[in-house]
Symmetry: C2
Subunit: 356 residues, 2 copies
């Protein structure tokens, strides 16, 4: 059963999307690994652990490197602009580097001990390495793009830089929200647009920019990516409360443990009614006692049930569908090969039906 | 009495250099403040505290924003390339942003509680803000440059990005060295070249690049800046052991407390003789007992005396003079107005005779 129960598009099968993601990984990983190998020791080793290429003892591993939606987008949208998929590779690598820079820092800031079923970098190699390797990946992202030395690479770097600053804004908003008693649905969507939408928007346009697309076409693809990001995040927020730890690789009730003001929570608080009010009282008590983390599983289960009863789960499922629809509609603003359009729709389908 | 007892150049007085630094600050600060104001709250406030524009309570302050050598270099070298000083402003701002990104992260990593006579950001606003605001300043640096939208800005961003990655490499080497029993003089110079030389090299070339300089001229200015950085760092290493806390704003014996393998230490270890051997024994004992920080003032004073007796202090003073000479000689590789050459020499004089 998927998180929001959407149906896949008719044209690209699940197997087709998985092949698309795999192809993106195959084209991108060697370039990514070569870039990471430039880092001074021990940062090269720490980064290789983070990407799942080696285990804690330094032995080669075949780790779960994540879903790799971003690289697939960068390559597909190079093709959308009429260029070969390979043109998008430096963009795909740069976006992956920025994404992983943000994961390294966010896991440390949030105190997350697990990612992709493994201990996080700060847990294994310490906070200093998590900070430094994150910084290094961010620098490397710009370096990989700019050493192309073309005007297109300059434009791509500018879009990536702006996306990265928004991503950092989003993380700052996210941790601020954890300490607030109330956050509006709009504030939450703004935060998630910054934190998740901006980098997916960049992933969806960077290949096209490298392939020589016009600003208007790049903007249409950014719009697709931005709303795809919001759909992605809505599903993530559902999985953050009701996801199966065996699939997600995170703890049960992960977002509730961290007091995240995610979409289901803010939608439930905004809904009114007895469950909404009870939830509001609990969160108000939390805000007065920010250090209390002595909750047990039953407390989290009860809160999750209140959020569902107040309608937060259903609203977030519908929001994922709304954002999905906006994303797919944006594709029509650009003239692109029908086959690429179908693949981009297929990727969007995949994002909203995933279970991890 | 200066740290290395060098004499100033005859042509630019101390007052002239101070006016040069002040002019750089006046031209750069409004653009820097406008850039920082773009950050999402509370990062704008945290960054303003870091730069000394406000105090801990948010009231306007007239803080010590640092020596501002880098902005002055960026503006002067725009003029070296025949462009107006103002052409260098986005470069000056970008380099200052990268420099302060690295200070925010390094202070957290090193556990430094004081900078410029004030509590550091992680101490006042917490580690999460130190990480995030550092990240945001790094992103902003690239944004400020790239939004110029010129090919020169693309070239400048590429140099800045490479310098930033080397700077991060240098910080990684620095913290690795703290846990090693022995580091060679050459390894220490490589580390300091990455950590301090690369960004000063960029500061010294970025204005010229924005002003349309050839790659050869930009490389000559980078060479000046790189060796100036090594001279700067040698003086810093002397001040890190023998500096007056009232001037430096740091603790007494600051680098010894942090077990830094700075130049005076590695030179003393490499020198041989009784004092060198005794120092080696003490550091070997430290390495076996990395958690011991129960040393008192007398222990640090005794170690500093051993370093001096072994010749580490004198060698580092001479090294600062050698690097200074190499820096100044590099200026002759570029055809520039005589007045600008004299100012760049004056700045180098200032760097090696400073007491903080």
């Amino acid at each position: 059963m998927s998180a929001i129960g959407a149906t896949r598009g008719e044209n690209v099968t699940a197997a087709g999307v998985i092949a698309l993601l795999e192809n993106g990984r195959i084209l991108t990983t060697p370039v990514l690994r070569a870039a990471v190998a430039r880092l001074a020791p021990p940062m090269d080793t720490v980064a290789s652990y983070h990407f799942g290429w080696i285990d804690q003892t330094g032995r080669p591993a075949d780790g779960d490197g994540g879903k790799a939606v971003r690289p697939a987008l960068a390559l597909l949208t190079a093709e959308a602009a009429g260029a070969p998929a390979e043109t998008g590779i430096p963009g795909a690598v740069a976006v992956e580097l920025v994404h992983n820079f943000s994961l390294l820092h966010d896991d440390l800031i949030d105190g997350d001990e697990q990612r992709r079923h493994r201990d996080t970098v700060w847990k294994v190699h310490g906070p200093a390495q998590a900070i430094l390797v994150g910084d290094a990946l961010f620098a490397l992202a710009n370096e990989v793009l700019l050493e192309q030395g073309t005007p297109e690479a300059g434009r791509a770097t500018r879009r990536l830089t702006t996306a990265t600053r928004k991503l950092i804004d989003g993380q700052a908003q996210d941790i601020t929200f954890e300490h607030l008693e109330r956050v509006s649905v709009q504030e939450c969507l703004d935060m998630e647009g910054n934190k998740t939408g901006s980098l997916l928007a960049c992933a969806a346009s960077i290949g096209a920019v490298l392939g020589g697309a016009s600003d208007a076409d790049a903007d249409a693809l950014e719009e697709y990516g931005y709303h795809l990001g919001l759909a992605f995040q809505a599903v993530d927020d559902l999985l953050g409360i009701w996801g199966d730890p065996a699939s997600t690789g995170k703890q049960t009730w992960s977002d509730l443990r961290q007091r995240k003001k995610s979409l289901p929570v803010v939608a439930a608080l905004a809904a009114g009614g007895p469950a909404s009010e009870r939830l509001g009282e609990l969160l108000a008590a939390d805000a007065k006692n920010p250090e209390n983390d002595a909750f047990n599983e039953e407390e989290f289960a009860m809160r999750a049930a209140l959020i569902e009863e107040a309608g937060g789960r259903e609203w977030t499922s519908q929001e994922a569908r709304r954002q999905y629809a906006t994303a797919v509609a944006a594709l029509d603003k650009m003239d692109m090969p029908e086959e690429i359009n179908r693949k981009l729709v297929g990727l969007a389908d995949f994002v909203v039906v995933r279970e991890k």
